[in-house]
């Protein structure tokens, strides 16, 4: 009887799972690339500091964040970190064509996983759009950032550089 009660109470709490938090191991992240006929996974980037960014073309702040991330990536690569830093984006448009149209306007050089079914944000329990997770070389989540506002690029730069220096 008590077991049944515990199970029922557990079921009621099931909908309130927490987002992936700092210090936790980043959940598995893999899937087909949006712009290329190949797949990519977070495991392939092991050893690098990776910024995982969940976005969609209909999300207002993402229109601001994507070009900013691209500039940041170019800047970090130019500063001598090509093998130590990468951005791995996850696009959540239900129609991948919408995302492709967006990228023709705001092209980026980093890989993007296409996930129209929303399989990966469920795994990460993404709390808002966009959300970014900064993951270290061991695959541990070190920083989580929700949304994107003017001036946030500086926060990203600081967090990434801090991690690269370690």
């Amino acid at each position: 009887m008590m077991r049944l009660l515990t199970l029922l109470a557990g079921l009621m709490l099931a909908g309130t799972a927490m987002a992936v938090d700092v210090g936790q191991l980043a959940p598995k992240l893999d899937g087909p690339r949006l712009m290329y006929e190949q797949s990519i996974s977070l495991d392939e980037l092991k050893g690098k500091v990776v910024l995982v960014d969940f976005w969609a073309s209909w999300c207002g702040p993402c229109k601001m964040s994507l070009p900013e991330f691209e500039t940041l990536k170019q800047e970090l690569v130019a500063a001598g970190n090509p093998d130590r830093f990468e951005i791995l984006a996850v696009n959540l448009d239900e129609q991948p064509e919408d995302a492709k149209r967006f990228l023709r306007r705001y092209p980026v050089s980093y890989p993007i996983i296409s996930d129209p079914e929303g399989r990966l944000p469920t795994r990460y329990n993404v709390p808002t759009m966009p959300t970014s997770f900064l993951i270290d070389g061991d695959g541990v989540v070190r920083w989580v950032h929700e949304g994107f506002r003017n001036g946030d690029t500086e926060l990203f730069r600081t967090a990434i550089l801090k991690l690269l220096e370690q």
Partner: protein, 71 residues
Amino acid sequence: MIQRLILLVLLLALTACSTTPLKPWERGHLAERSMAWEPDPLAAQLDEHVYFSKEASSGGAGTGGGGCGCN
């Protein structure tokens, strides 16, 4: 008896889970322009101008206060 009552309450509570809120990444359709209250802000502003000019309710629709209606 108490346990049965708790079980009943828990079961009843579970029946309230018929609707689940949309996840943040499932709001693509809600973000469409056609879903906005005023899809065209410029046209809405023009409509409002016509409205408060004709109704002599400077300040626009939905706001308290009067006006001369002279614009």
